[in-house]
Amino acid sequence: MNSNLPTSKRLPVRLSDAEIEEVGRDLDTIQHEIKASLGERDRHYLLRIIALQRRLALASRLVIFASLAFLPRWGHVASGWLPFFVVIGLGTIGLGIAKILENMEIGHNVMHGQWDWMHDPEINSTTWEWDTVCPSDQWKHSHNVIHHTWTNVIGRDRDIGYEIMRVTPEQRWHPVYLLQPIFNVLLALLFEWGVAFHDLDIHGMRGRGKLLPEDRRVLLGIGKKVGRQVMKDYVLWPLFAGPLFFWVLGANAVANLIRNVWAYMIIFCGHFPAGVHVFTEAQIEGETRGRWYVRQLLGSCNIEGGKLFHLMSGNLSHQIEHHLFPDMPSHRYPEAAPRVRALCARYGIPYNSGSLTRQFGTTTGKILRLAFPTRNHAVTTVVG
């Protein structure tokens, strides 16, 4: 027990301050050892994924066009609704997968600086732009700076319920949360749009009743990015289909939807499943590196699955390792995970890992339950 601290600053672990710092040093060692071994094979991995993603995206778009040849209106042997929907479905799913890979295993991780060690001017956190309506510079602020520094600190981390939902009993209830089961579905479907407006200080804007130059800058950035993305998926590519415009537009929209729902699911499993901890600002006052590490451990959850699942989640299924080592190349998290897990076991720190069903199930259950008022808990409960 870190007993020399006032109750409000205690973390829910049975560790002394010295032990917490020891945990920090052990985690530093894991991080440095893995980072020191980065080299050609890691670069080869990323270049392969990028080439695969680009080929898949282009091929899928071509398959969507090819499907138009199977429309029943052409009246040839192979035409008909069934072959048409099979082919356009394949193309759409392929494009959805390409977008998932681009956003999660490539974009998210490159923008975290995970690949900056390669000094490749093409693949750098400062210049990378991703295939969503959210401008990368704004995302890097709301995500890398706000979320990763203030993870799960109520009042600081805007990822807690994305400012529209109550995902922990520590958030004060308000009648508007009665609608959150609906918000939840809408957020899943429109996830990239939610992410796009995430860096905008909407509460502040409402309070002031006018736009500050800063808000204008943010809105302009979003506008430009949205314009380009909409032009691509909903105007230019469909235009190539001429009178069959709406089929291509529809396929592209569904591909974006597939990516939205998948990204939403993975990301909600990162910090909201049952057993995760949230913190108060008082608890993190004068936080040391060791305590920061422990907060990341307690505030993140892993999802268990196979290799393909980890790839498709951008290795955010290793959310715990990602939060401990945000700029370590993601494909190395599976190597760090058993070491982190064993370390947690040695020090008696909970390591929240479960199947997708468990993690997503408890997250959704919480969102439904917390739509209604709850008795306020103490902010954190001491384990054991």
Binding site: D28, H32, K35, A36, L38, G39, E40, R41, D42, R43, H44, A51, R54, R55, L58, H112, G113, D116, W117, M118, H119, D120, P121, E122, N124, S125, T126, E129, W130, D131, K140, H141, N144, V145, H148, T149, R228, Q229, M231, K232, L236, W237, R289, W292, P326, D327
Partner: protein, 360 residues
């Protein structure tokens, strides 16, 4: 902007946030327009330790002027490293290729890689040719070339061009090499000298064991090899010591404006485990300050009055990343030292390990 360009821009939006070129390069690397690459067409050993690489650049490359250099990027151990090499071929070469000639030396990883490990068929990243170490196009000159070792490369491009165009001026060339066998392009230089009497080659062998008097540059030696040096414009390329000696000599002679030099100072600072701090130069701000080996550069910048962008202050968010132009820093988390110029470093977790120059 022409209508065609505007249409190309609109079509280019189909690839946003990438460019169409990111897809064409999947088919063939030289078909990209967003970055320049070159294919290694052939390799040839000029001497025991110097190799010429024939490179075919992709779209968007421009023909160099004789004497210019090009930055070449290679990937070693997953990390991109970029070095500058003079182009040794003539711009009049008509097969769309150019050559660089690379000499290996102790500790030079990139040169060693280029001179030993690169195979034909490999792709290297290149930048556009740069530099003003060139002969004037219009005014006639009487050049004196002074070169040593691989410093011959930019001058070779000039000589090849002058020979090809049959416009060899009255020129003298003093070249330093350890032994006759070590002269890069030795055979070709002799042939040019034989075919163009106005070109006079004076090789100085510093280690052939016969002519003990032959040594590195001295005023007396210059007087002997080229008595009319005062009437000539000098183009010199070689090791730092030679260029320093030449600079001092021409300064004393009161004709520094006649001396044109090409220097490839290795800007890579030495790694040293006990370097503690140094002078920090923030280039964009034009500020210079002292820093110890403990204070992170973000604090150093702030204390110097520079409002640097920053986020987490603990090496997590990469908001404060800045380019290190030269020098050496230490990542205080791991103790790892970084001395590769052009590296983007995290200011909030790096401290000076020796003098350092930062783009901030």
């Amino acid at each position: 902007m022409t209508l065609l360009q505007r249409m190309a821009d609109v079509v280019g939006l189909m690839a946003t946030p990438l460019r169409p070129s990111h897809y064409t390069e999947l088919v063939y690397p030289l078909w990209s327009s967003h970055r320049l690459q070159a294919r290694v067409e052939g390799v040839w050993d000029e001497t025991r330790d110097a190799r010429t690489l024939t490179l075919r650049p992709g779209r968007g490359f421009r023909v160099h002027r004789a004497g210019q250099h090009v930055r070449v990027g290679v990937t070693l151990d997953g990390r991109r490293m970029t070095r500058t090499y003079s182009i040794s071929s003539s711009p009049d070469r008509d097969d769309g290729c150019f050559t660089i000639t690379v000499k290996t030396c102790e500790g030079a990883r990139v040169s060693r890689f280029l001179a030993r490990d690169v195979r034909p068929g490999a792709f290297l990243s290149v930048e556009l040719p740069q530099g003003d170490f060139c002969l004037p196009d219009s005014t006639p000159v009487r050049p004196l070339f002074i070169t040593a070792g691989s410093g011959i490369t930019p001058v070779m491009s000039m000589l090849r061009t002058l020979a090809l165009r049959d416009r060899m001026p009255d020129s003298v060339h003093i070249h330093y090499a350890p032994r006759a066998r070590d002269v890069i392009f030795g055979g070709e230089l002799e042939r040019i000298a034989a075919e163009h009497p106005r070109y006079r080659l004076r090789c100085v062998y510093t280690r052939d064991g016969v002519s003990r008097s032959a040594s590195y540059f001295t005023a007396q030696q210059l007087e002997e090899l080229c008595p009319d040096w005062r009437e000539r414009d000098v183009w010199a390329c070689g090791p730092q010591d030679l260029l320093d000696a030449l600079g001092a000599h021409f300064e004393r002679a009161g004709r520094p404006e006649r001396l044109h030099v090409e220097r490839f100072t290795a800007r890579v600072a030495p790694l040293s485990a006990n370097a503690i701090g140094g002078t920090v130069h923030f280039r964009r701000s034009g500020l210079e300050t002292r820093a110890d080996g403990k204070k992170v550069l973000l604090r150093v910048a702030e204390d110097a009055g520079i409002g640097a962008p920053h986020g987490c202050r603990m090496g997590v968010c990469h908001t404060c990343d800045a380019t290190m132009l030269a020098g050496c820093v230490r990542d205080i988390r791991s103790g790892r030292e970084i001395n590769e110029p052009g590296t983007r470093i995290q200011l909030c977790v790096c401290a000076a390990a020796g003098d350092v120059e930062i783009e901030l």
